[in-house]
Each structure stands twice: as C-alpha cells, then as structure tokens.
Amino acid sequence: MAKRIDVSGLTAYYGSHKAIEDISMTVEPRSVTAFIGPSGCGKSTFLRTLNRMHEVTPGGRVEGKVMLDSEDLYGAGVDPVSVRREVGMVFQRPNPFPTMSIFDNVAAGLRLNGNYKKSQLNDIVEKSLKGANLWNEVKDRLNKPGSGLSGGQQQRLCIARAIAVEPKVLLMDEPCSALDPISTLAIEDLIGELKERFTIVIVTHNMQQAARVSDRTAFFNLAAVGQPGRLIEIDDTERIFSNPSVQATEDYISGRFG
C-alpha cells in the first residue's frame, strides 16, 4: 500500500524565479521523513512538488523526476488529479470544508472517487476518524459542521479526510504550527501510528518535533536570499541530530545559524 518516493534532479520554478534546485532523495515506504530548514528554503515548495500541487500556483513549474514506486508523477499523460488521489496532503492551517458536516468532510474524497453505498461510507468514515484519533470526540455529532471543532480537532479531521481515500503517501506541511502543545502531541502520536500504513513526509520548523516523530531528516538551506533552496543532506534522524556530516546542518540544529 505505502509506496517509495524517488526524486532525482528536481528543480522547481515560480515563473522565472528558481525556488529549489537539483534535489534528489529517496523516501522509504512506511517511514516518516522530516524536512527542516530556515524559512524560504523551499521545503514546502519541494513538498508540494510531490503531489503536483506546486503547479497550481500561477507560474509554477517543475523539472526533474519524481517516481512513486515505478510510476513517474511528471510523466507524459499523467493526470495531476490522479496523482493527488494517491498522494494526500495535510496543510499548515486546518482547512476542513466549512460548509460540510464532520461526516461529509471525511467522506468528501471518497465521494470524488466513486460510488460507495451508505453503509460502506459509514464504515470508512468511522475507520478514518478512529485512525485520526478523533472518533470518540465527534461520534455523537457527525452531522455538525467541521468548522465548529477546536483547531487541533480540525487538524485531525483533515488527517481523517486525507487518509479516508487510502493514499499511498501522506504529505504534511507544518501540520502543528497553528496548534497548542497538547494538540501537537496528539498529532505527533498519530503520526507514529499512521506510519505503519503510509509513507509520511512532514515539513516542520520545530526541531524537537522532527527528532521525535521522524526516522529520516532532510536539511534544506539556501545560499543567500533570492538563491534557490537546496537539499544539504538527508540521513537518519539520530545521525542528523547527533553527528551531521555537514557543518551547516550542525549550525542550524544547534541554533548557531545566522
């Protein structure tokens, strides 16, 4: 179910501005990979190239190759819509559909994908909400709007929505940056459970978080403002946080970074 991501020589542009340059990495299935680095270094941009969300931005385009197992995401004739059905995404700010109930939010992706019987939908919604550790909190108010939940609950609702369609990969763009510490902990626990089933890539500004949740960590940086972001190194999280092979990584992690 979970798939391996293999990126080679990926460069992404906003119009004529080169945002990230020549990034290559492999993400193993059923693992958590964290992207860290200073603001503007292209972590989020790179994340968004993995489900072809980058090209939604006007002027956004990509060179290079992203393989999902044996499938080239940027191959000729590949429909970005079907890519996004395989590679789910959770955003920085919780974004449940404000006009939909909790149930409809989780079922939204399923309804896009095909015809499900009501009983099937019920089962999948329950399973997804349980998978997102939200079921017990919302099971009595599935027909209430999702926007009435707390921020942390909304974010878990978004995770439930993303995993309901059984994606191969789950991308998370700073999923906890708008949440309080307790909600953050709930999401981090959840990530630990979800990696049994999905390949997870998470962008975070919180280095403790990267150390807590991830198996591998990638450090991104840019030479100067206006320069494209680059992948400095990617390694086992333990190694990155104890004995990184590049000096810049150590400077960033230990807070000595300009």
Partner: protein, 335 residues
C-alpha cells in the same frame, strides 16, 4: 490609561471647575476632529433614517387617500380606471407582470452570471479575464433607456424564431404557447431585464469567488478534485451567500426597472395565460406611462401601486436574508 474619556456631564468631583479645566479633563472626546467626524457620521446615519421614514410616510399617506375611494378591491381588480365614478383600480395585473418578468429575468441571468464569474476567476487566463470584466462593467453603465430602445428595435423583431420554437416544443404547457402576436410580452421583458441585471450579478459574484480562501481550494485539490469539483466543494459553498446577495441586487433592479419595460412591452390590463402573449404590465412601467397625464387622484392611485412595489422589494430582501442566515453555522471560515 486616561480614564476621563466619558462625556462632560459626568464631571468628576475634586476637579477645578471652569471651562478650561473642564475641557482638559475630557480631552479624549472633545478633540475637534473627533467631534466633527462623530457629527458627520451620526448625521449621515440619522439622515438615512429620516429619508426612509419620509418616503414611507409619503407613500402611505397618498396611497391611503386613493385606496379609501377605490370601489374595486385594490389587490385583486384587473382594471385601472381612476377616472370612473366611483373609481375602480387594482394591482393584480401589475403585481403579476412585475413578479413574472423578474422571475424570468432571474432564471436567465443568475446561472449565466455565475458561469461568467466562475470563468473569469477560475478558468480564463489573466490576459482575457481583465478585458472581459471591463466589458461587463461597460454593460452596467449603459442607460436603461438605451436597453429599452435596443430591445424594441433589435430584440423584438428578432424573437419570432425563438417564440415559434418555444411554441413548437413547449406550447403544450400552456404558459409557453404563442398565438403569433408581436413578441412584446412579459417573456421579452424578462429577457431584456436579464441582460440588464447580468453585469451587477456577475461583478458581485466575481468578487465573492475571488475571495475564496486559497486553503479551501487547496483542501479540495489535495483530495484529487478536478477543477469543477474544486468549484463545487469549495468555491460555490463559500460564495453561496454572496451570490444570493448579488442576485437580490439584480432582482431589485429588475423589479423597479421602468424605461426599458415601458419601451418593449405593449401594456394591457389583463393577465395572459401564456408568457409569450403580448400584454401585461409592471408597477414601474405603469407608473411611468400614466403619471404625467394623471389627475391628483390618479397620482395617488399610482403611488399606492408604488407602495406595493416597495413592500414586495422589502419581502424579497427579507427572504434573502433568511436564506443567508439559515445556514450561518456552516458559513464561518475557520479561525
């Protein structure tokens, strides 16, 4: 923090009296700029209420004069004979014509306007959407008499084909049958009104669709939604109340439109079974065509019909507000 921002009448004890000391103690509220602006804004607010009240009083008073002397039932009579003794007049035909032509206009204009707005915000390349939006603004700037002339000289002579087609395929419904009269009917009025209210509905809808938060659209995109599915899941629900408001603005214009209707319609004082039969009338058209030659009593009667239009507009707006409020808990963008 300075706590002396209340008004002067609550003068605290222990402060020296006299105008100068007083002034200093209440400085926050009495800076000339603040006072002038407070006066201006409060005055504008009050002025609005006074004008509305004056209109309502004027309409009700003159209307009451006429309705008291009406020998027929003001609401159900199919006549407008203010010169008779006793006078007989009623608004049934006008209310029917106004409401029906506006419904036709809304049914034609709202879907097209929403379509144009979606095209401009979500489909058209930027190079194209600017000029198109400009042309639509121009449409809104055309005076209504010009629409009326165009309707009478261009639209009416070219509608025979459409009328024949409607009669062939939908004549059996009764409301779309055609006897072959000149197409100066409520349907034609509705078509013309639809063109006239298209720009305002389009513009307001476009603004609303443009304000859909990026994160709502990305939520749908990330689930693997196509462009149309993004519109259905994120854009339309978010824009719903805005589109309703836009439609109400258009409906308000359609209900009150005068010159264009008067130019196109051949007014009669009866209700035709078919939308395609020439005849009928609307409140505004009836007032415009009769007011100049009316006696004072005739004017009172026309004002009474104007009052009914006023009430219909109020009801429509109230209904729209109810629709917007009904699903309020769903409409909030999250914090």
């Amino acid at each position: 923090m300075d706590t002396t921002t209340q008004h002067n009448d609550a003068a605290p004890p222990l402060t020296p009296t006299g105008p100068g000391a007083h002034k200093r103690a209440t400085r926050g509220a009495t800076r000339p700029g603040d006072r002038i602006f407070l006066g201006l804004s409060r005055g504008s607010g009050i002025l609005l209420l006074v004008i509305m009240a004056a209109i309502a009083v004027f309409l009700t008073y003159r209307a009451a004069l006429a309705i008291n002397k009406d020998d027929g039932n003001f609401l159900t009579t199919f006549e407008w004979n203010t010169g008779l003794l006793p006078p007989q007049f009623g608004i049934a035909v006008l209310a029917f014509g106004t409401v029906v032509s506006s419904i036709v206009a809304m049914a034609l204009a709202v879907p097209v306007a929403v379509g144009i707005a979606l095209f401009l915000t979500h489909y058209a390349p930027r190079k194209l959407s600017g000029p198109i939006a400009y042309v639509i603004d121009l449409l809104a700037a055309v005076p209504s008499i010009v629409y009326g002339l165009w309707g009478a000289l261009v639209l009416v002579p070219h509608l025979n084909g459409l009328y024949g087609w409607l009669d062939d395929y939908f004549g059996w419904t009764g409301i779309l049958s055609w006897q072959g009269g000149a197409p100066r009917s409520l349907l034609t009025v509705g078509i013309l009104l639809a063109i006239m209210i298209l720009p305002i509905i389009t513009n307001v809808s476009r603004e609303v669709f443009r304000q859909v938060p990026q994160m709502h659209e990305e939520a749908a995109l990330a689930l693997g939604a196509t462009r149309w599915e993004v519109i259905r899941m994120s854009v339309l629900p978010f824009g719903r109340s805005g589109v309703i408001s836009a439609s109400m603005l258009g409906l308000g214009r359609a209900l009150g439109e005068t010159m264009a209707v008067a130019t196109v319609l051949s007014p009669t004082f009866d209700i035709k079974a078919s939308l395609l039969d020439p005849g009928g009338g609307t409140f505004a058209q009836n007032i415009a065509s009769k007011f100049n030659e009316a006696t004072e009593f005739g004017q009172d009667a026309l004002i009474a019909s104007g009052l009914v239009l006023f009430v219909i507009t109020l009801l429509v707006n109230g209904a729209a507000r109810m629709i917007i409020n009904r699903r309020k808990e769903y409409s909030g963008a999250n914090a």
